[in-house]
């Protein structure tokens, strides 16, 4: 079944101008550089990529926590990229966010009651008398209880705080939640608890997630579709299973192969990338991955590849798959990937 599109991103760009202290020139960081994708209702869409590739910025721009430099954000058929602050406020009960850092995302001066009451109050949701009950319900759902209501965030563990953060996002019963690395700051044993909670909530409330993570095993486990980002660009999009089974872009291949094995007996053919991720302030010409790509060709240095669709919804931006010369080289590469 083809679900409806909930969110559509078209040519989104976000550049940051940052000053390098007093002595240096200002630089322009292309955190998100012309990306497009869409999220369907009810699915979990993942953004994956290395640190600094622009995942968080994408998420924050979609929620208009920062203003996009350019491009369109269409939510439920409505363009929201230019909505003024106060109109955007009204929309926020439909789209919510869960943050990476459970310590920083809760106001240390507010009790849990205040933290959870705020969204209800702001959006005037539920009659006043019922709100407390709703909060208590929500607490129960995320595995906390009434007696936590009057405590302050610092009295909770990281896992518990993350659950409070999730509760705050879900209590408005939004359609769409962006979860920005919701588990990466948590202990291994607590991670799975939070992932379970997110899965449960999705089922219960029919939520759509934009799930941001760099942990490929988590992504493989819980998402439906994945977009792989590199230096502010999306290099590959596919259904999760398809992507892990059949990665097309050399970067995706390297990324997947770099994941540590899960059992000592496992044998893994590694593509070890050389070098570091270039700075988004000064991205390489052509295909931005060419500096590290084991299959880089001449054209990669000069021309930016365009998106090529393989099977249903599986797209990648790579010259290996575009029609041009160097056929042999390409074939070799594809066969060995």
């Amino acid at each position: 079944m083809e679900a409806k599109t909930l969110l559509e991103i078209k040519n989104l760009k976000k550049y940051f101008e940052i000053s390098q202290g007093m002595f240096k020139e200002k630089i322009n960081v292309r955190a998100v550089d012309d990306i497009s994708f869409s999220v369907r209702e009810g699915e979990t869409f993942a953004l994956v990529g290395e640190s600094g590739c622009g995942k968080s910025t994408t998420g924050r721009t979609i929620l208009r926590l920062t203003d996009p430099t350019d491009g369109q954000i269409v939510f439920k058929g409505k363009n929201i990229e230019k909505l003024p602050y106060n109109q955007m406020r009204a929309l926020r009960n439909r789209m919510q966010m869960v943050f990476q850092d459970p310590y920083a995302s809760l106001n240390p001066k507010k009790t849990i009651r205040q933290i959870l009451m705020e969204p209800l109050r702001v959006h005037n949701k539920f009659p006043r008398e019922e709100r407390l009950e709703k909060i208590n319900n929500m607490l129960k759902i995320v595995g906390l209880s009434e007696e936590h209501l009057d405590r302050y965030p610092h009295e909770f563990s990281g896992g518990q705080r993350q659950r409070i953060g999730i509760a705050r996002a879900v209590i408005l019963q939004p359609d769409f939640i962006i979860a920005d690395e919701p588990v990466s700051a948590l202990d291994v044993s607590v991670q799975s608890q939070v992932i379970n909670l997110m899965l449960d909530l999705q089922e219960e409330f029919g939520l759509t997630y934009l799930f941001i993570s760099h942990d490929l095993s988590v992504i493989e486990h819980m998402t439906d579709r994945v977009a792989v980002m590199y230096l502010g660009k999306i290099v590959e999009v596919a259904d999760t299973e398809e992507l892990f089974a059949n990665p097309r872009h050399p970067y995706t291949q390297a990324l997947i192969s770099a994941v540590p094995i899960s059992h000592p007996d496992e044998e893994k053919e590694r593509i070890i990338l050389t070098g570091d991720v270039p700075s988004p302030a000064n991205p390489p010409s052509g295909c931005s991955f060419h500096t590290r790509c084991p299959f880089a060709m001449d054209i990669c240095r000069k021309v930016e590849p365009v998106s090529k669709e393989f099977s249903n919804g599986h797209k990648a931006n790579c010259h290996l798959y575009t029609d041009s010369e160097n056929k042999e080289e390409k074939e070799y590469a594809i066969n060995h990937s």
Partner: protein, 301 residues
């Protein structure tokens, strides 16, 4: 406890659930652990009490000039710290002088703190041109050494308790504005503020309900550390003859009046000076303690 159901994380919860003490009890139990903070606190409380009831507990009338008893050394004729050049009891005058110091310290901290905080909040929250203008004003004010600035202003607007508070506040608000602005800037970037925006809280509410409450700690710390500076500044200016005018007893002007007696009657300059030192010491100790307790990261401005 350990017999309760282990699987339930509630068990652990309860075991480690912090005993909730009242804020005051926490304050004192913290305070009692640091002898420096305790000394500071005792000095401050003594000072405040003295400044409140001072006029009823002075052994002599601090204004009354008993010419026949001038310049009596300490411990003579019932004058604990001796008498001054007009035969007034120094001990009584020091007690009454505490009021000036307390008023100056508190009032200036209040006014400078309020102005500085408001300006800091405006600059930090709204940014843009208003920030630029306000920060230029701050720069201008900061382009003078504090004491000199206060002195010049005071010399220009004239002496007196009210004017000295004004001039100290004019010199003092900037530091609040600076610190508060950078606090606000830091807070703005905090994830919980982003979370508020994501929730849909209005900007005004974010400012009032989320940013301002988080400023209390830095404000209190800063104010407590500044009070000492103000008290010393007042004394310096009075000493130079611009501040609180005699006959109102203030420690600075007692020193000013007594400095010509340095060769004959040492007690005239010794005791008011000690009073200032002890006060500044107390305030600093308490302020340091407060800073270390409330915000270990704010060390060193």
């Amino acid at each position: 406890m350990s017999s309760s159901l282990p699987q339930n994380e509630q068990a652990l919860e309860n075991r480690v659930k912090p005993k909730r003490k009242s804020a005051i009890a926490t304050f004192f139990s913290n305070l009692s652990r640091s002898w420096t903070g305790l000394i500071g606190f005792i000095i401050i409380m003594t000072l405040i009490v003295i400044s409140l009831i001072g006029q009823w507990i002075t052994p002599f009338d601090p204004y009354f000039a008993e010419f026949s008893k001038k310049l009596l050394p300490p411990m003579t004729e019932g004058h604990l710290l001796g008498t001054d050049q007009l035969g007034r009891d120094i001990f009584s005058r020091i007690i009454l002088g505490a009021r000036v110091s307390v008023i100056i310290g508190l009032a200036t901290a209040l006014i400078a703190g309020l102005i500085g905080t408001i300006i800091g909040i405006i600059a930090g929250f709204f940014r843009g041109w208003i920030d630029i203008i306000l920060m230029r004003i701050v720069d201008v004010t900061l382009s003078f050494p504090f004491i000199l600035l206060v002195l010049v202003i005071n010399a220009i607007i004239g002496a007196g308790l009210r004017n000295i508070i004004i001039s100290l506040a004019v010199g003092g608000w900037v530091i609040f504005a600076r610190v508060i602005r950078s606090e606000v800037l830091a807070l703005r970037e905090k994830e919980f503020i982003t979370a508020c925006i994501a929730t849909g809280v209005s900007r005004f509410e974010i400012l009032i309900k989320h940013i301002v409450p988080n400023l209390f700690t830095p404000i209190i710390i800063l104010a407590s550390l500044q009070i000492g500076t103000y008290i010393i500044a007042e004394a310096s200016i009075s000493f130079l003859g611009f501040g609180v005018a005699p006959p109102t007893p203030a420690w600075g002007n007692m020193l000013n009046e007594g400095k010509d007696y340095i060769f004959s009657s040492w007690w005239l300059i010794t005791f008011p000076g000690l009073a200032i030192v002890i006060t500044a010491l107390g305030v600093n100790l308490f302020g340091d303690w407060l800073r270390d307790t409330l915000d270990p990261e704010l060390k060193g401005e």
